[in-house]
Amino acid sequence: VNFEQFSIMKNKGFYPLIVAVFLVFPLLLLGQQPAKVRFMPHWLHQAQFAGYYMASEKGFYSDHGLEVEILDGGPAYPVKKVFVEELAEFCTMFLSRAIELNDEGIPIVNICQTSQKSALVFVAKKSSGIEHIEDFNGKRIGFWRSDFQELPRAFLSKYDIECDIVPITSTINLFLSGGVDVMGVMWFNEYYQLYDAGIDFDELNSFFFYEYGLNFPEDGIYTSASFWDKKPDVCRKFAEATLQGWRYAFAHKEEAIEVVLRYQRTRNIPANKAHQRWMLNIMEKVIVPDNPDHFGHLDKTDFKNTEDVLIKSNSINKPLIYEDFNKR
């Protein structure tokens, strides 16, 4: 070894170049273009999906060799349609809805369970005199008529509530105008909309599902079983980069909120900063688990509980195998 030559190379910055070439070369050898995938959130753009935006924004996806297109979700794109028509490779939805879809013959798998805690809440105005669950009896209770019905129904049947169920499309106006006495809302969304419509929190009685033994994890990332079989690496990387995006969003909330607002404004979605800030804060409560190792994990017990509810309510015909459903 000619030490003199070596030191010259080192001094001229030659060495780092060599290192760089050695690092990049294997990637070039593999010759992989970034994997192009599409992601469809299951609702209009909002802070509920901040982790995905930040993963894209901060380059976590491209760091993982992914080129992710974030599509506009919403009522026009029920998840069933997304998979049937293959509109996206990845999609979010409630755990319950995912189990139902499998039962309906659409094989999808959970590659990441972001939500660890149910954000479902029943709210009633204190002025209506509803203090306890049994007070629900005989009242008009509104909740969504679309994908999210099973869990509220499970709540009502668990407590043997006899009441009028009023299906609602999307707004809280019926509740505000007094058309229904109780309403099922999402903690991060409509719950705040009530506040934003001038109702103070202390004017409401709130019944958080997770406090009533009905902690159904909600948002998770899903892909079709066939895509999983084909490209499990891409799936894993998408899940990993997304969790990184969530971590970043919780650590940089104001930055994340600005990105969310940008998504909303460019698509003419009502953008309300205070609301998005609230939503992101609640998402943090919902997503960040007590046990740090469970970040993004689907707990088998939670899965079973949710499945049980669906079986009891005849929403599904037969149970699923956890291991077939949960892929990591």
Partner: protein
């Protein structure tokens, strides 16, 4: 240096005090005016805001209520007749076509209630690209039963304005739908059958509310029944934010409360904008009753207050101009007041220098300044007159003084003043002084021979002082001279003088008087004391004897008074001392008198001297010591008579003086003087020789070294005195200060003569020869004194 305000000029003080006071008053008025104007303005603004809000609300309401009538009128028709689809279209089409604010209109039926086979039935006309489009609402994607415009009025059983929403057919149009439920009665059962709607395009609201003219940057906005912005100058807020999210993001703490009041249909006016902490503004809100919306109006405070501030600025400008004007006026007035004062001050300085002819400034009017000027004129004239008087008085005084001086000289001339008076006589010597307290005095003394054998001497003290006393003294002295004749006794002479003085003595002046007549052969004194101080006799045995006899009242009091006399004998070398009460009653600054007792003690000290002049000089020294700096209060007269037997009389005098010039040739005169005087005083040859050598040496020293090369002629005074024990010679010269005693050094004696310091040897010999040598500098004089004790020839 700190200058007190008291030192400032009147003009400054006037400006300071008046302008400060004025400024305070003006500020207070400005403040109060501002507060009142502000309150008035606030009232107006409140009224205007309310009015503005009400008229805006009315305008919106009129459109909305007009729109409301369409479905309200249609609903009963639908209830009462079984209607067909074309009929419904005929109803809906003109509604949309002829009502510009109506964007669309629908009749939506309950499932299967229009057509038992149709789940959805909802004919709908709406405007798209300026043309009317008909379509049937409903489908899997549009289940209208669960939408707000359908569900809420159905549930509430009453007409409802929906929350504003974006037009779903695209286009950035905000709409609100007025939905009226209608019912069908079947088998007496009135059942909900559907909803009649009109969709109102709300874009005209935005234009209308923007057109409300609220100052320059003021604005209005409209919120829905749940607080969402329907119009707002900031477009991004519309349909996105609510009054509550705004309160959350940038409002005051109670912004939310105000927002709740707004959606609760209340109205109010508050003096800040709860939804923006940035700009000071006022906020008015009032409801739109038909749809439960609320109108908010923001009035930026600075614009509302613009007129007030303009007025305030104008007032401020006027006030400041006024103050500046007042400043000028005060300056002018104070100048007007102080200019004559300054001139008067300057003129009084000139008057102070003695110039009374200066003219005073012309002052018109009879105000305080005029009066002051007048007083000044009077004062000037009075001063001038006074000064003239003073000048005259001074001239008179000076004349009197010069006359008094003459009188003094005359008085001095009538008393003997040549001493020694009888240089040819060896048996008697007299010395006397008279120091008047004023120019002229009332004391007198006199002495003269009466024949060859008798010497008359007298002393007197006239009552009072000054000119009258001096005149009386002159009379007394004249009388004395005229009444003394041979063989007359002292008492006879005194009696005669008395009787003469008493005649025509209308002022009853008197004189204490002592007359003595000394028989020079026997030494007996015949004397008469007319109320005078007792004389003292210094006896040869150094005792003092007071001649304490009075022979009657002072002269001039009792015409027929017959004075008796007395006699006393003087022995050889004895002295009689006469004095006036100026001695015995000499006073020091503490007001203490010398007194007879002290005087008698002093007399004892004088016994060592045997020369009348020395006795008097010593006595005066002692008396002056006592009085110190105190003024002489009375005339002082002293007369000392020394009586010597012929054979041992001290000579012509006990003091001889020689004045020589500073020439070396004069030394011969000194030798002659010392030798002659010593032979007169019967001094033994040895002493004489010593005195001569010493004198010669000293004088040559003074001439050679004291004056050096000094060319001009100076005098050297040599005084030779003697008393019972010694001869004293004093050399007084005006040469350079020089103490020869300090030059003398024992070493120099051993040196050869030519090497010795000049004068050193001489002084050494002088000290050897004399008993005492002393030197002192008195003023510009060197005083060198040598003393030589003498051996009494008569062996006493």
């Amino acid at each position: 240096m700190r200058i007190s305000i008291r030192d400032k000029s009147i003009a400054f003080k006037l400006r300071l005090y008046i302008l400060t006071g004025l400024l305070l008053i003006y500020s207070a008025i400005m403040y109060i005016d501002y507060r009142i104007s502000r309150r008035i303005l606030l009232n107006n603004v409140t009224q205007n805001a309310t009015h503005l809000a009400l008229s805006t609300v009315y305008q919106i309401e009129s459109v909305l209520t007009a729109a409301q009538k369409i479905p309200l009128n249609l609903a009963p028709i639908l209830e009462n007749i079984d209607i067909t689809e074309p009929q419904i279209r005929n109803f809906l089409k003109p509604i949309v076509k002829y009502n510009s604010e109506v964007f669309g209109s629908a009749v939506a039926f309950e499932p299967y209630s229009f057509d038992p086979d149709a789940y959805f039935f909802s004919p709908y006309y709406y405007v798209h690209d300026d043309s009317l489009i008909y379509k049937k609402l409903g489908g899997d994607e549009y289940v209208y039963f669960y939408l707000d415009w359908y569900q809420i009025p159905k549930t509430l059983n009453r007409p409802v304005w929906t929350e504003p929403y974006f037009d779903e057919n695209g286009g950035n149009i905000i709409m609100s739908t007025y939905s009226v439920p209608f019912y069908k009665t079947r088998e007496d059962n009135r059942q909900f059958a559907g909803i009649v709607t009109v969709d109102i395009d709300l874009s005209w609201l935005k234009g209308m509310i923007e057109s409300i003219n609220i100052t320059k940057t003021g604005y209005a906005f409209l919120i829905s029944q749940r607080g969402t912005f329907i119009t707002h100058p900031t477009d991004s807020l519309i349909m996105n934010e609510s009054i509550f999210s705004m309160a959350e993001e940038r409002g005051f703490a109670d912004a939310r409360r105000i927002g709740r009041e707004m959606i609760a249909g209340k109205s109010g006016f508050i003096n800040y904008n709860p939804f923006s902490a940035n700009v000071d503004a006022w906020f008015h809100y009032s409801p739109l009753p038909s749809c439960n919306w609320s109108l908010g109006i923001v009035f930026p405070e600075h614009e509302l207050m613009a007129d007030l501030h303009q007025q305030f600025k104008l007032l401020l400008l006027l006030g400041l101009s006024g103050i500046v004007l007042l400043f000028v006026v005060i300056t002018l007035i104070s100048k007007m007041i102080t200019r004559p004062l300054v001139q008067l001050a300057r003129i009084s300085d000139i008057i102070g220098t003695g110039n009374f002819d200066v003219t005073l400034p012309e002052v018109r009017g009879n105000d305080e300044i005029g009066k002051l000027n007048h007083s000044f004129e009077l004062m000037k004239q009075e001063l001038k007159r006074y000064m003239e008087n003073l000048r005259e008085t001074t001239a008179i005084k000076e004349r009197i003084e010069s006359e008094l001086k003459v009188a003094h000289d005359i008085q001095q001339s009538i008393i003997p003043k040549i001493f020694p008076p009888f240089p040819e006589r060896e048996d008697v010597d007299v010395y006397a002084i008279l120091n008047p307290a004023r120019e002229v005095g009332g004391d007198l003394f006199d002495f003269f021979f009466v024949g060859d054998k008798k010497l008359a001497f007298a002393i007197g003290d006239v009552s009072g002082k000054g000119v009258p006393a001096s005149l009386f003294m002159a009379i007394t002295r004249t009388l004395l001279r005229s009444k003394v004749f041979h063989n007359a006794s002292a008492s006879q002479i005194v009696s005669r003088i008395n009787s003469d003085l008493c005649q025509d003595n209308e002022n009853t002046m008197f004189v204490t008087f002592f007359l003595g007549i000394l028989d020079l052969e026997t030494g007996v004194i015949d004397y008469c004391n007319a109320g005078h101080n007792y004389p003292y006799i210094l006896r040869a045995d150094n005792s003092v004897e007071a001649l304490d006899v009075t022979h009657g009242a002072p002269l001039g009091l009792f015409e027929d008074m017959n004075y008796k006399g007395g006699s006393v004998r003087l022995d050889k070398q004895e002295f009689i001392i006469l004095y006036t009460d100026g001695i015995s009653e000499a006073m020091n600054i503490r007001g203490e008198l010398l007194g007879e007792e002290k005087l008698e003690l002093l007399m004892k000290e004088l016994c060592v001297y045997n020369c009348p002049k020395i006795i008097i000089n010593q006595l005066m020294e002692k008396v002056n010591e006592f009085t110190g700096v105190a003024d002489q209060s009375d005339d002082i007269t002293l007369l000392v008579l020394g009586y010597y037997l012929k054979k041992d009389a001290p000579g012509f005098s006990c003091e001889k003086q020689l004045i020589i010039s500073n020439k070396i040739e004069e030394i011969a005169r000194v030798e002659t003087f010392v030798e002659h005087t010593a032979s007169q005083w019967k001094i033994d040859p040895e002493t004489l020789n010593a005195l001569m050598v010493a004198s010669e040496e000293i004088v040559s020293n003074i001439i050679n070294y004291g004056y050096g090369d000094q060319a001009d002629e100076q005098s050297i005074h040599i005084t030779m005195t003697r008393d019972k024990q010694r001869i004293i010679i004093t050399f007084k010269d005006t040469g350079a200060a020089f103490n020869p005693l300090e030059r003398e050094s024992p070493d120099s004696i051993a040196k050869p003569l030519e090497e010795r310091e000049s004068g050193g040897l001489g002084i050494y010999f002088v000290k050897q020869l004399m008993d005492k040598v002393s030197y002192q500098r008195e003023g510009r004089f060197n005083m060198l004194t040598i003393e030589k004790n003498i051996v009494q020839a008569n062996g006493e």
